[in-house]
Symmetry: C2
Subunit: 99 residues, 2 copies
């Protein structure tokens, strides 16, 4: 699936509600999902983990929609030509450094 | 960009480090990036916001790689045929409910 198509799918599904709720309120939902992902990673099944990854990605995408950020452009710009730290396609940044 | 291609790109860039660090340590980096995204949404430029969205997506993806979760399958399964709450392509869940 194209990331851009997913962003459009989520826009069609939730944009009206997202805009009404605003970024702050929508961010709270993202945080709740991040907590659920942490719990699933600690003690969930792979199926539960898959669901929580999907939810975090959906809430991140929905906030990007409200903020007017195209996620495809964002990742291409930052990661498309290599690690933002060292510039290589296989990162060789020092382990203590990001990332 | 295909989401699967991005997941492969991030795998090639960081997988060895991610596996060495493990899910717990990698999750800490995700949290740091989520904090930076919150700051950028509050007072950053659109360009800064774009960079932070990319970083959160990259760290989420890298954790999915360590956990063995295919993000494309995950979102298709959960959102591909409609809102997980109400089943519609344009969500009509009650506003008080998720999502």
């Amino acid at each position: 699936m194209q990331l851009g198509d997913f962003q459009q799918l989520i826009r069609g599904m939730y944009h009206e509600k997202d805009v009404a709720r605003g970024i702050d309120g929508t961010f709270m939902w993202l945080m709740e999902e991040v907590g659920e992902l942490a719990a699933a990673l600690r003690e969930g099944t792979l199926e539960e983990q898959r669901g929580e990854f999907a939810d975090v990605l959906a809430w991140l995408t929905t906030i990007a929609n409200v903020a007017g950020v195209d996620l495809t452009e964002a990742i291409q710009e930052k990661y498309g030509s290599g690690c933002p730290g060292c510039g290589r396609m296989a990162c060789d940044c020092d382990d203590a450094e990001k990332p």
